[in-house]
């Protein structure tokens, strides 16, 4: 780890020299805490990898543009053990003890929400990323922003419209009891009803489920032509494996979180072809010229595809911060002003905030198509047409 860091700083130093900067500038220090251990540990790499790729790229380009002066960047990081109370303490430490110049976001909705009051109190802006809940809108606008387009009420509404347009008439819903799944379900069920789609199966299951056989058999027997699996990563993997064994026949299959991981396709291969999932970024959207280069750089560095949700969001949040700092410098109030008003050019196309929310990116759906993640809904951003799932 330290060797890698050293190597990085040597490369960074080399880049600075090559750029012809006469004197070495003080690095800009960016603090964040990450759930490296504990409940959410599985999700950390998607986000940390994106941060470190961004760091490499910025340093290789001569540094971060701070209101016209280029300065190298370095991260100050801690492990919050997936615990919001720890994260609160860590960000207080980053702000008051370590006196970092900028902040990057932690993982998960609870930790983002727990940090909002701390940021307001210290008047320290932070661009969030991996948080998704209707409750985000209740956060007082000011020092935190959420670029995600995965907001449960919109997801429910759009998913129902998407299913209707593909001729779905009945849907089986299986849902983890964890918050995001339940939140989406609470908006999805009424939306389906409104679209005239029947819900013959509607079941919850615990987060640590080890066997879905009974639920999947029930689903098969119901004859529903859509299976909506509101799953978290570990049950997404379990679902794909068992759906194959039991021969789930529905032509429309959605799996919530996990299907965008690089490892998902690596582990499950052909069988997950044509699975639909939630996400608003694809490397194949030609209208976003930065998308494909990000994908390629990530793949070259880590030898796997970036997570279309978390890695993309994490990288976007750094792009937003980078562009804000280029105009505003490191003054916290000026950064806040810049993030609140500017339109940002990111790998996910243009982004602009109104209050705490990104209002530019539409709520979209992705489909795994022959090893690639394609946007299939809505029509305004789609990269490929939806394909029914024909087998596992």
């Amino acid at each position: 780890m330290t060797l890698l860091k050293k190597l990085k700083s040597i490369i960074a130093a080399g880049a600075v020299l090559a750029a012809g900067v006469a004197q070495a500038e003080e690095p800009v220090r960016i603090g964040y805490s990450m759930s490296l251990t504990g409940l959410f540990a599985q999700a950390a790499p998607s986000q940390v990898n994106a941060y470190e790729l961004w760091e490499d790229q910025v340093n290789a380009a001569g540094g971060l543009d701070v209101g016209g002066v280029k300065r190298p960047v370095e991260f100050v990081t801690y492990d919050d053990q997936s615990n919001p109370a720890n994260a609160v303490r860590i960000y207080e430490k980053l702000i008051t003890e370590d006196k970092v110049d900028l902040l990057a976001a932690p993982w998960s909705t609870p930790i983002h929400l727990a940090l909002a009051p701390i940021l307001s109190r210290h008047k320290f802006p932070m661009v969030g990323n991996t948080a998704a809940s209707v409750q985000l809108r209740e956060v007082a606008p000011g020092y935190i922003w959420f670029p995600t387009a995965v907001i449960p009420d919109k997801v429910g509404e759009e998913l129902a419209a998407f299913m209707k347009s593909k001729g779905v008439t009945s849907a089986a819903i299986l849902s983890n009891v964890l918050p995001l799944s339940q939140e989406i379900k609470s908006f999805l069920v009424p939306a389906l009803e409104k679209q005239g789609i029947a819900v013959p199966v509607n079941e919850n299951y615990p987060p640590d489920i080890k066997d879905l056989t009974t639920l999947l058999t029930q689903t098969n027997e119901s004859g529903a032509d859509a299976v909506i699996m509101l799953s978290y990563p570990s049950d997404s993997f379990l679902f794909a494996a068992q759906a194959k064994e039991l021969g789930v026949k529905a032509p429309f299959v959605l799996s919530l979180i996990g299907a965008t991981f690089g490892s998902y396709q690596q582990a499950l291969g052909e069988s997950v072809n044509n699975i639909v999932t939630v996400g608003h970024w694809s490397p194949n959207q030609a209208a976003w010229p930065k998308a494909k280069p990000f994908f390629d750089a990530y793949k070259a560095k880590y030898n796997e595809a970036p997570d279309a949700l978390d890695s993309a969001l994490a990288y976007m949040s750094m792009e937003i911060l980078q562009q804000a700092v280029a105009t505003a410098g490191l003054d916290k109030e000026k950064i806040r002003e810049a993030v609140s008003t500017m339109t940002f050019d990111t790998i996910n196309g243009p982004i602009k905030f109104e209050g705490v929310q990104n209002t530019m990116t539409p709520t979209s759906f992705l489909q795994i198509q022959d090893g690639s993640l394609e946007l299939v809904w809505p029509d305004s951003v789609k990269t490929k047409d939806f394909r029914p799932k024909t087998g596992w």
């Binding site: 990081t77 801690y78 430490k93 929400l113 009051p117 109190r121």
Partner: protein, 302 residues
């Protein structure tokens, strides 16, 4: 005599240091002190039942969880201090209701049962929240850290005072008799069931309030986190490290644990839990009476 001297000097000194701390103006330091006060309050309250009677509970978090749930339901409709009182009251009532059946079993069965009950309570609340269509709840306009710190500090003092009072009362002597030999105690007329139940209820109230204050700190409620079993495990760990024989034990244990983890997590994020685990093993092997045992040995030698 010397022991008393140490407590007479050390106790007020700690209280003074605690009261003066917010005026240092360092949020980070206050954050650590908040944590320290929280652990003292929790471990001290735990020791009222578990260290005194030997009924080791692995489910102390259940009272925190109930407290924070009641707090989030009542806060807003009721003024914050009243909501906090409700949280403590609810935890006490919960102890009263589950106490009678739970306190009938002993030894490892009690340990497992308390752990199981905490998990059960967690899952029940998750189900309730799900059926209410609530997935997590937010608190707005939580008071600033210094206010929260003073409340938590008050809870630490209160729970230490409660531990002292219980220890020096008839109730405490009855509880020790239960620990040493429950049948014998019962035979000579100690009302064992009643005493255990009283201790259980007393031990539950403070963690209930702590649960509410903790929620104000993170401003976010989610059942799985409010009932995190790691809290129960940490309490037992601190009690063991501090020593279960005295009121000092939980204070020393919490101090050691909080300061050590503060030193370790920033420097050795990967190794931090391993080092803590190794220390716990060393303590159990070589210092079964914990840090307070160390003090007592020194005092005895003098």
């Amino acid at each position: 005599m010397t022991k008393l001297n140490l407590d007479i000097i050390g106790g007020p000194l700690l209280v003074l240091a605690g009261l003066a701390l917010p005026f240092a103006g360092a949020d980070y330091l206050m954050g650590i002190a908040f944590n320290l006060a929280m652990w003292i309050a929790l471990t001290q309250s735990w020791s009222i039942l578990s260290a005194m009677t030997g009924y080791v509970s692995l489910g102390h978090v259940v009272f925190c969880g109930i407290g924070s749930y009641v707090f989030i339901l009542t806060n807003g409709t009721l003024p914050m201090p009243v909501a906090l009182a409700c949280a403590g009251l609810a935890a006490g009532v919960m102890a009263l209701v589950i106490g009678l059946p739970v306190l009938r079993v002993r030894g490892p069965y009690f340990v497992i049962l308390t752990f199981g009950l905490a998990e059960l309570a967690k899952n029940v609340i998750v189900q309730i929240e799900t059926s209410l269509g609530q997935f997590s709840r937010l608190i707005f306009d939580a008071p600033a850290l210094d206010t929260l710190y003073f409340i938590m500090f008050g809870l630490a003092v209160a729970s230490t005072a409660a531990a002292v009072l219980v220890r020096h009362s008839k109730l405490g002597r009855g509880l020790v008799a239960i620990r040493e030999n429950e049948e014998a105690a019962e035979a000579i007329g100690v009302p064992v069931t009643r005493l255990k139940l009283i201790a259980f209820v007393v031990a539950a109230i403070i963690p209930g309030i702590v649960g509410g204050v903790l929620l104000l700190r993170t401003s976010y409620f989610e059942a799985a986190q409010a009932f995190d079993p790691v809290i129960s495990f940490s309490i037992v760990t601190m009690a063991i490290v501090g020593g279960m024989g005295t009121v000092r034990g939980p204070i020393l244990g919490s101090l050691a644990f909080v300061l050590l983890s503060e030193l370790l997590w920033a420097r050795f994020p990967q190794l931090y839990m391993i080092i803590l685990g190794a220390l716990l093993i060393l303590f159990i092997l070589f210092m079964p009476r914990g840090l307070s045992g160390l003090f007592e040995r020194r005092e005895a030698r003098r």
